[in-house]
């Protein structure tokens, strides 16, 4: 039994190229072709198909919204995103919505064919050239450094200054708020950074978040 495929892409030339490419496979059958998400949703009401090749950037309705709408109605539908976007945000969002494949338009035809086959089998397929993004975004940021003493090694004054800096005060604003001189704040800040082995304000903010310094307001 052939794999029934629908192509949704606002770019007609691309669609026809794609159709030509896929129709060479014996077990693929292109059952539909639309230029917009709205048309696809209408089409889904009329006929059944196995795989939807879906573009993200389209004028009326973005691929993400189309996928959402379709998967709500037909949870079993296998959607493969076929896009130019190489950024982890798009990848992550669409996988979260429930797309089963993510393939870049610049990848080779064989890759797309492979993606369709494995998704049809029930697997997931993410373009190898961006699968790395997914991994790095899951690994995420290193936790703030804990080994160097943490909150206890700060004096109450330093803690207060740390909190203000992490809240987005400039040095002179912190000085004004605490009725001390700018130089004093700078000195405290230097001490705080040295004690906690922090290098940048971003690290300081992370430290403050992890140690609950920002909660009290």
């Amino acid at each position: 039994m052939a794999i029934r495929i629908v192509i949704t892409d606002d770019h007609a030339v691309f669609r026809s190229g794609l159709r030509a490419l896929l129709e060479r496979e014996d077990d693929f059958e292109i059952v539909g072709e639309t230029g917009s998400g709205v048309d696809t949703i209408k089409l889904a009401e009329e006929m059944e198909f196995d795989i939807l090749l879906l573009d993200i950037s389209m004028p009326d309705l973005s691929g993400a919204r189309v996928a959402e709408a379709l998967l709500e109605k037909y949870p079993a539908l296998a959607i493969i995103i076929l896009t130019m976007h190489e950024h982890e945000h798009y990848l992550r969002e669409l996988l979260q919505i429930g797309a089963r494949g993510y393939v870049l338009k610049k990848s080779t035809g064989t890759e797309l064919v492979q993606a369709i086959r494995s998704v049809f089998r029930g697997d997931m397929y993410v373009d190898p050239s961006i699968a790395g993004l997914l991994v790095s975004s899951y690994v995420g940021k290193p936790a703030s450094k804990q080994e160097s003493g943490g909150l206890q090694c700060l004096t109450p004054r330093e803690k207060e200054i740390c909190r203000l800096l992490a809240l987005g005060f400039t040095n002179s604003e912190a000085a004004e708020k605490l009725f001390i001189s700018l130089r004093t704040v700078e000195a405290h800040r230097g001490n705080i950074m040295a004690k906690l082995d922090l290098k940048t304000r971003a690290e300081l903010v992370r430290f403050a978040i992890d140690n609950g310094l920002l909660r009290s307001d």
């Binding site: 770019h11 691309f14 030509a20 950037s57 130019m84 190489e86 969002e93 971003a202 690290e203």
Partner: protein, 495 residues
Amino acid sequence: MIVTRIWERILSVPIYVKILGIGILVTFLFGAVSYYGIRASMYRTHYGIHAETVLSIARSLSSRVGKLIETGDAAAITEEIALVIRTFPDVRYVIIQGKDEQVLGHEFTFPTNIPADLMLKQDALCASCHTNPEAGELRSDLYAVPSEIVVPDARFQLWSRPGGLILEVATPVPSGGTVRVGAGDTIIQREITAVSQSLLFSLGVCLVIGQTLAFGLAYAIVRPIQNLLQATNRLRTADFDTRARVYSDDEIGRLAQAFNLLAGELRTYRREVEEKEKVRVSLIERIVRVQEEERKSVARELHDQLGQSLSSVLLSVQGLRRDGVLPEDRYSRVEDEVRGLIDQVRRLAWDIRPSVLDDYGLDSALQRFVEDVSKRIGIPFDYQSVYPVELERLPNHIEVTLYRVAQEAIMNIVRHAEAHRASVVLFRHSHEIILIVEDDGRGFEAGLVFRDKDAALGLLGMKERVELIRGELTIESEVGKGSAVRIKIPLTGEL
């Protein structure tokens, strides 16, 4: 030097003090001069009359005692002397001397004092009537005042004693001998004191009246000036509706009128400036908006049209490869080239306006930008946001502004800071959003940089854009101490 400083001191005294001071000074000077002048002339006339009176007393006595001296009737002489002293209360002593200046009779209303010229002959003198004179009695309290007037037939002499001046008139007795009459000036003194006192009293009254008037004048002068000063201060706080009160039509009043005219003109001028500023702001706002819209559509066009077309080309090449007309590696080369083109287009579109900014918001776009720069430049850029997902997305123009400003600040770090590290922090609170871009590089004097407007177009543009959305941009930097750019945008009210 010192003179000018003292002069300045005097001039800096309040007007009140100046006017009152002049009043007091003039009154005192006038009072003192007239007081002493009047006293002096009173002394002169009174003493003239006094001298004539005493002279006539002495003359009449001398005419009466001539015969008595010749007869040597001491009792009658004493009687005559007593009569004179009783009749004229101001007469202090009378001495009658014979031809050889021997004292024939005398009486003093003060017992212990004797004119100095008689002191020499005191033994003879006193022995003539005092049986046992005591040393203490003979002391002289009368000092000659160095003024002696000689009238042909009389000799005037002034003595001073604690009780006052004594004027002595000595007249010769035609048949030989001298009559000396000493008179005190108690009456004159009393008279002059009374006149002086009334003079002082009227002077005091004048002073009080004068000062009251001067105070009134000072008030009349100072009040409009103070009113004007207050109005000026209000004007300085941009209260252009303020008007100074015009109290009178004198110079100060005209100054106040001029001030009011000035305030009115300032107000018009200010309004014009405000209008222009409004036009300027809306112009900038439009330029920025149009520019962003343009960028957005160009980026879209590149990404979605050119990119897509290239993708189609790629597909066609892949289709051709299946047909296998040419050798395999030729297709691969074309495919790789097209892929490279797609990447270039994508990057170009991204640089012009990242689609993530529109599709996923500021946090994602900034994070991505910071990572890109960090990778490209090799300066470790740290990004941290406090960006609760449950808060709804910011209005697009705020996101775009913050993104652009952050880009400028980051590019400044890349180009100028020579930093080892830099970081970008984004705080999203419910009422405001804060963006901080910091580095530990060489720093700069923001004040100095801003003074040269042409050299700081980047920073000025950032400021301008932030102010368009009612935010504030603060630069905290010092040479050698890195720099921090902070943008704070309030999220209250309509955006």
